[in-house]
Amino acid sequence: MSLRAVSSVTGCGYALRSRLASALTLSSTEGPLGPLGAKRHLPKRGTKPLPQFLWDKKHLEELTGGEYTHKPLRVNRLGGRDPETGRKVNQHIGGGVKFDYFMIDNCRRGPSNFGAFYEERVLEVRRDPNRGPHIALVAGSKGKRWILATENMSAGQVIKTSQHIPDNPVLAVEGNAYPLGALSPGTVINSIEKYPGKGGEFIIAAGSSAEVVRHQGDYVVVRMPNKHEFALHKECMATVGKLSHGDLKDKIFGSPNMHRRFGYRPSSGLFHKKDGYFGRKIRRLPPVRTLDQPDLPPCDKLALTLTKTDLTGLFGTANVHNLLASGYSGRDYHDE
């Protein structure tokens, strides 16, 4: 019996359709009107970013012993495959020339007392084939490390890092790192920590930058390039300035072969019919999201050994002792 026939009998087609829809198992992509409804108000498919499986982190840890090194390394690449399952997660990645891998130190920490800085001199700014922004080799009293270079960073420059939050905002200098609480509204920043002490996680793409909007108690509202706003703790560190290599998006590889040399695989080339998810959507901006607690780490996977009873797969009334079928009784035996 089709939906149309039923609706003509009851005279309330919409209510019946909605009851039927709720009775059926609905997928998350379906709207309140079911698969026939509009998709333009739903969250965009694929907006939750997939984990990027580019370099083998286990191999990196084996090579370095878990410690940081500024030396170029040869790290195995995963080609977009999950290292545990072996399945492809990221498309269009694989092959290419084996580039040297430079470990980037995202954590810019400094002294927290007034007037004290950790100073470093920029020794070299170079391209990195593994990421968009240029990288800078900086040397201080604690050693050398690579960091993401800001737009006007050049060799010989001295950059400072401080964790002190003064009463009045500081005069931000490009390349220096300050806590968000020390920056005045309107400051352009990059490499922003999500939570204090976790290292730069926001704004690491070439040419990108965020802006400090306002201070709100213990939190500072920061506007991202897509205009979304986040309230981050005032002790989160950020680097002042725009990231380097802003013209990367205007550069072209020149040939499909050059794409492949950089580790990009071709798209399928087949025709894929577009549905309502495609196309530009004009949506309201989400409210300011406050990042106060870091996400809990995933639970450890347990390796369980099932008992013989579990292995039978029987449940309910079928889950009886396996000897009962041989004539044993379920009652207690009394000693004579």
């Binding site: 170029p72 020339v97 040297d100 100073e119 470093e120 001199r121 020794l123 040397a139 201080g140 009293s141 604690k142 050693g143 050398k144 001295v158 040399r261 013989k308 002792h321 000897l323 044993y328 009784s329 379920g330 207690d332």
Partner: protein
């Protein structure tokens, strides 16, 4: 039926109870690991090394060195030395006569071609890397490695200087003959020196400084060499300022290591000799070559190492003070360029900026000739620069 439990009466007897459901019933699936307490079956640890020391030191290793980030300024700051670019005029004047000798340039060309072309060594050479056409995989070529070529060239230059030039110039300069006749030459001998409490830094505190290298030529003599700077000039260095490379710490490129020699290691250590000079060569990394400043700083550091080895081998250092200044020379050959260094060790207190300073004379990056790529046959010497050889000879004369 309830789960079977071992009755208490049986438990009190202390009898072994086996569970048929256990994976290891009736025989163990995996055997017990054999425990043999013998040194041959123990994995050696760091502490088992013969040269292990509990207190780590900061090591400048010639074979595995990091380039000095701040170049010559860092070398000066680390070694408490003032850097003088250019050798004293008296030495250059004394050596300038070599250019007038007959067939001098032909002999130099022969020395170079002997190293670059005539050597029959066939070893696998490192794969050629093109920074522009980075995707091209070049075939592996075979030939004489760069270090082997440079070592042959250093041998030839020293032989030409000590034998041929000595024979030709000794009539005009008898002291020259005496200088060369007593040289003892050792090839590829290790060199290690240690300066107790030689460096201090924020990160490491006060630690011993160890400089170790493997020069191709270690030239020693029984004569004591006179210092290049007089005592008045040495006293005047107390007022000079050592380069300040803040915020960089001078020790950031040194490696902290527990394995080092506690005494100086030099060739012919059982004979009372004095180090005249050390010569070695370096092969530049194709992807990350060192700059001229970094190479010059490296040469100064190794020359310092030779001077400290000489100072500490016969007890020249008493109560942390040097009895007399010690001068050593170093020649580093990289890609046809000679870094010529002379280091006068006046003090072993590297942390005291108010005392007299050590002095380093350097002629950096003297291009002797332009070598070709290692994957091509070198047919003819290109851009021979005889003035570089004059300075090389001046280094040996001083």
């Amino acid at each position: 039926m309830g789960r079977f439990t071992v009755p208490e009466a049986v438990q009190t007897l202390g009898l072994p109870v086996y569970d048929p459901n256990d994976a290891d019933f009736p025989r163990k699936t995996t055997p017990d690991p054999v425990q043999i307490n013998h040194p041959a079956f123990r994995k050696p640890t760091l502490q088992d090394h013969v040269l292990y020391n509990e207190k780590p030191s900061l090591v400048l290793d010639g074979t595995d060195a990091e380039p000095m980030s701040a170049g010559l300024a860092q070398a000066g700051a680390l070694l408490n030395a003032v850097i003088r670019k250019g050798f004293p005029d008296r030495l250059l004047k004394a050596a300038s006569g070599v250019g007038d000798l007959p067939k001098h340039s032909d002999r130099l060309c022969d020395a170079i071609m002997h190293a670059e072309r005539y050597d029959p060594t066939l070893e696998k050479l490192p794969r050629r890397h093109d920074p522009v056409l980075f995707w091209v995989v070049h075939p592996r070529m075979h030939g004489t490695p760069r270090i082997a070529r440079n070592n042959i060239l250093l041998d030839n230059l020293f032989r030409y200087s000590s034998v041929a030039l000595k024979a030709q110039l000794s009539n005009a300069n008898p002291q020259l003959a005496q200088l060369f006749e007593d040289f003892r030459i050792d090839r590829d001998e290790p060199l290690s020196s240690i300066l107790p409490n030689g460096c201090s830094s924020e990160q490491h505190g006060v630690k011993d400084l160890v400089v170790r290298s493997h020069p191709h030529l270690t030239i020693q003599s029984s004569k004591v060499f006179s210092p290049w700077a007089s005592s008045e000039e040495v006293e005047a260095t107390a007022k000079e300022i050592v380069p300040d490379i803040r915020p960089i710490d001078p020790t950031i490129d040194l490696k902290s290591d527990h394995i080092y020699n506690r005494e100086a290691v030099l060739a012919r250590s059982w004979i009372p000799l004095h180090v005249h000079s050390i010569m070695w060569s370096r092969e530049q990394d194709q992807k990350y070559p060192w700059t001229k400043e970094q190479l010059a700083a490296n040469a100064i550091a190794h020359c310092f190492g030779a001077a400290v080895a000489q100072a500490t081998r016969y007890g020249e250092v008493v109560d942390g003070r040097l009895k007399r200044p010690i001068v050593t020379r170093a020649v580093q050959l990289v890609d046809g360029r000679l870094d010529l260094v002379a280091f006068q060790l006046n003090t072993v207190d590297l942390n005291n900026r108010n005392s007299v300073k050590n002095i380093a004379w350097i002629e950096p990056a003297q291009q002797l000739y332009k070598p070709g790529p290692i994957w091509e046959n070198y047919e003819k010497v290109v851009d021979l620069n005889e003035s570089a050889f004059v300075k090389f000879f001046a280094t040996l004369l001083g």
